[in-house]
């Protein structure tokens, strides 16, 4: 992987109309969620700052993915799901009546815990968000594809096989492809669920670099099991445990002088 491949930064493009140039603020208040009878989220209160990187950490099964998926209403697909409380995007309640879920999701890019490329070519995968927006102009699609792939540190590997099926790639490549897809349409908010869990250290570094560059233009929420990564890339960190947000604040504070002993134990690796 060459450095040259990554020199261009990921600039927002003109064709995508942004409501706020530096991302959107998310405001979660008194949020509860039940899968059937079991409660997965308890009374979450969390203000996610515009244009900053927020990390969610916590032991497996504590509800990080669940919370993340609520931010773009991905959980709507699950039957028997119940929520209480509010999540506001730029002051606008996304669970309120008459919300256009598709418009909401268009403002957010998402990278899932497991890579989920579509059964299409690599190229079609990357430009999929643009295609569903009705963009058909080849020059825009080509340009976006290259830029998104470069940002996701995949261009060098993929440039000669753009027309091949995405399902033929390795797990790590697929994950980077999903990252490229998540940022292809310049969303305001980027939701990443353990984006680096299948990646090698070099690719991980690239993704972290990408996150650094996107900071300021995007609001980023990232779930991670890697403490160093959370410490490196995020401005704010929330520690979750058993469906509760135990502590939330400035990353440096969380990692150096946490207020709760549970947080301290977790970040210092004493349990988790």
């Amino acid at each position: 992987m060459t450095v040259a491949a990554h020199e261009r930064t990921f600039e927002p493009t003109a064709y995508h109309i942004k409501k706020s140039p530096e991302g959107a603020a998310l405001d979660i208040s008194n949020f509860n969620l039940w899968y059937g009878k079991s409660q997965a989220l308890h009374d979450i209160n969390m203000e996610i700052q515009k244009g900053e990187v927020t990390a969610l950490i916590g032991p497996s099964g504590c509800g990080k993915s669940t919370l993340l998926r609520c931010l773009n209403r991905m959980n709507d697909l699950i039957d028997d799901l119940r929520i209480a409380g509010q999540i506001k995007v730029d002051g606008f309640d996304i669970y309120g009546p008459g919300v256009d879920v598709i418009a909401l999701r268009k403002r957010m890019g998402m990278v899932f815990q497991k890579p989920n490329p579509f059964a299409m070519s690599i190229y079609d995968n990357v430009v999929y968000p643009l295609r569903v927006d009705g963009i058909t102009k080849k020059s825009i699609l080509d340009e976006t594809c290259e830029r998104a792939l470069r940002s996701a540190a995949l261009w060098d590997e993929a440039k000669d096989r753009l027309k091949e099926s995405a399902l033929g790639m390795s797990g790590g490549q697929q994950q980077r492809l999903c990252i490229a897809r998540g940022i292809a349409s310049d969303p305001e908010v980027l939701l990443m669920d353990e984006p680096c869990s299948a990646l090698d250290p070099i690719a991980t570094a690239k993704i972290e670099e990408l996150i650094d560059q996107l900071k300021g233009h995007y609001t980023i929420v990232i779930v991670t099991h890697n403490m160093q990564q959370a410490a490196r890339v995020s401005d704010n960190t929330g520690f979750m445990y058993l469906g509760r947000l135990i502590e939330y604040g400035d990353t440096r504070t969380i990692f150096t002088t946490p207020k709760k002993t549970q947080t301290e134990d977790y970040v210092s690796g004493r349990f988790g």
Partner: protein, 592 residues
């Protein structure tokens, strides 16, 4: 408690026995445990017996299928091979000639036995009362009134294979077995010469085909135009009133056209008659084994060959030419001879039409059921009902097709769009459209079930990925779910196609006929005539094998047609499977 070691101690009695039992039930356990460990696993855990059972069942199934296919293939492939003609001299002095087709044993009746010689009777008695007999295909139906004759061994005096015996396949009256009594070439009697006859027969066949071409194509076209003008007259009358000026003008125009067509018609008629007249001057006298003759035009002979004087390449040539005739011409002689081209065409056309109908219908239904309908009791009931539809006897679909498609829909279409041809139905009778719709209905459960399976096999994470990109539900289905499910949907289509192509019973009610006057596709607008009845290989098998005047004559054709139908279905399926695999490969690739 040590006294149990000494069984002779009378005092230990009952207590000792109880202790022994107790020890015995406890003791052996460790030993058995050890043995089991040595054997690694017991039989039920290994599952070997189940495996044998599965293997046996599979083998049985395969053997049944293989022997069925072998039977069809053997009978089908040997039918067209030219067989020798035997001349049999019977004990009563008469002669008989024919192809020996098959032999079996039978038990002669008392009065038959009574007429036999002593040594013959003794021979039969030694065989527990059974004698052998052979079925000869004597042909010459016009002379004998039958095509086949059983001859018992004890009736035969001598069998020879004379070199001058020929087999003639005729345009009418089926085959003829015998000699050439003489030729008439251009009115002049000539002696038989194989070369001469062959040359003249080829020329005569050309004349025959010329007549047929004029009758079918040119006169057929004229008839079509005249019909069209007649309908135009009728339409004008219906639309503007019989006496209106407008109608009168149109009618006059149409009648002028009809007159010109009829003039052309008469011309063609004259031409045909000329050729016929000429053709009648080329004749052949066929002579059967006992000397009775049949005088016929040379053009009536489709094929002839000296059955007992053929070398291997000649036999092969005849074999191939018969296959070619079979797949490329129309049937003759009540379907027992000639080809099955219209049936091949009808089967393929109907199956393709059926796919055209069943694919969108089944896929849309499955999409709605799986993706849009709320999954509850009602959807379950619908799903179960769809599955059960697959078990409804196919003839019931035929009845439904007749009652609904043909009478209700077809009748309505006729009233609305073709009033001028009433009371003759256009769509209000069986036709290829209604047949393929009926079959589409019959096979739609297969497609629905397969499509639903394929849709539910698309991973949820893929859908989520698409939705997270801001795609609507429809976009997700259209661009992500359907492409991924396509190979599975194709599998459903393949199953439906195989089922539909082999179905016969419902078709008999909604459009299949024994002999269709015209193909559903021709050169006249609108080229594809969905209202026409058609021929079908499956029905052809039924008709030839069980409905013809002489089932013995039709029997070989049953096998050949079955073979062809199987080949056709295999070809269509192979095409579909190739397409599916190509689709699969396009999107496949190892995960990780």
């Amino acid at each position: 408690m040590t006294d149990y070691l000494d069984p002779d101690t009378p005092a230990s009695g009952a207590a000792g026995a109880a202790a022994t039992v107790a020890r015995e039930t406890v003791q052996p356990r460790p030993a058995r445990g050890k043995r089991v460990r040595v054997l690694s696993a017991d039989l039920s855990a290994v599952g070997e017996p189940a495996l044998w059972a599965f293997g046996g069942a599979l083998a049985l199934g395969l053997i049944l299928i293989a022997s069925f296919l072998a039977m069809v293939a053997w009978n089908g492939f040997t039918t067209f091979w030219p067989k020798p003609i035997a001349q049999v001299e019977l004990r009563d002095g008469t002669l008989l000639a024919g192809e020996p087709t098959r032999a079996n044993r039978f038990r002669p009746g008392e009065h038959v036995l009574a007429q036999l010689d002593d040594d013959q009777r003794a021979y039969i008695e030694a065989n527990l009362g059974f004698a052998d007999r052979t079925l000869f295909k004597t042909a010459n139906f016009d002379l004998y009134g039958d095509d086949f004759r059983w001859v018992a061994d004890f009736e035969m005096a001598e069998i020879t294979y004379p070199m001058d015996f020929h087999l003639f396949e005729r345009q009418q009256w089926g085959t003829f077995v015998g000699r050439v009594g003489g030729l008439v070439i251009d009115g002049e009697p000539r002696d038989f010469d194989y070369r001469l006859m062959q040359r003249e027969q080829t020329a005569a066949r050309q004349r025959f085909n010329e007549i047929r071409r004029i009758e079918r194509r040119d006169i057929g076209a004229l008839n079509h135009y005249i019909d069209r003008e007649r309908l135009a007259i009728r339409r004008a009358e219906l639309r503007y009133g019989e006496d209106s000026e407008r109608a009168q003008a149109l009618i006059a125009e149409a009648q002028a056209n009809i007159a010109s067509y009829e003039a052309q018609f008469a011309e063609l008629q004259i031409r045909v008659n000329e050729i016929r007249e000429h053709d009648r001057r080329y004749r052949v006298i066929l002579e059967e084994v006992n000397g009775r003759t049949v005088d016929t035009e040379l053009s009536q002979i489709v094929r002839f060959y000296p059955a007992n004087a053929l070398n291997w390449p000649q036999a092969m040539g005849i074999y191939l030419s018969r296959w070619w005739e079979f797949v490329s011409t129309e049937p003759r002689e009540a379907n027992t001879q000639g080809g099955v081209l219209p049936a091949i065409f009808g089967t393929v056309a109907m199956t393709l039409l059926m796919v055209v109908f069943v694919a969108p219908f089944g896929v849309i239904t499955a999409l709605y059921l799986r993706e849009y309908a709320k999954q509850g009791r009602l959807t379950s009931i619908v799903r179960i009902s769809v599955n059960n539809l697959a078990g409804v006897p196919s003839i019931v679909y035929g009845v439904f097709g007749l009652g609904f498609f043909v009478f209700v829909v077809g009748g309505g279409v006729d009233q609305m769009f073709f009033p001028e041809s009433l009371p003759n139905p256009t769509f209000g009778k069986g036709g290829i459209l209604w047949a393929s719709l009926t079959l589409a209905l019959l096979t739609v459960p297969v497609v629905i079930v397969a499509t639903e399976e394929a849709l539910s096999a698309v991973p949820r994470s893929m859908r989520e990925g698409s939705l997270a990109c801001g795609a609507s539900k429809w976009q997700t289905i259209r661009h992500v779910v359907l492409p991924k499910a396509l190979p599975g949907i194709m599998t459903g289509m393949i199953l439906a196609m195989a089922r539909g192509a082999g179905e016969v019973a419902p078709l008999m009610l909604v459009g299949v006929v024994k002999l269709a006057p015209a193909l559903p596709v021709d050169g006249f607008f609108p080229f594809l005539h969905l209202d026409r009845s058609f021929m079908h290989l499956g029905f052809h098998i039924f008709d030839v094998g069980f409905q013809s005047r002489n089932s013995e004559a039709g029997k070989p054709m049953v096998f050949v047609t079955t073979l062809l139908l199987l080949a056709l279905i295999v070809t269509m399926n192979a095409t579909a499977i190739t397409i599916r695999n190509r689709l699969k490969k396009k999107y496949a690739g190892g995960q990780f």
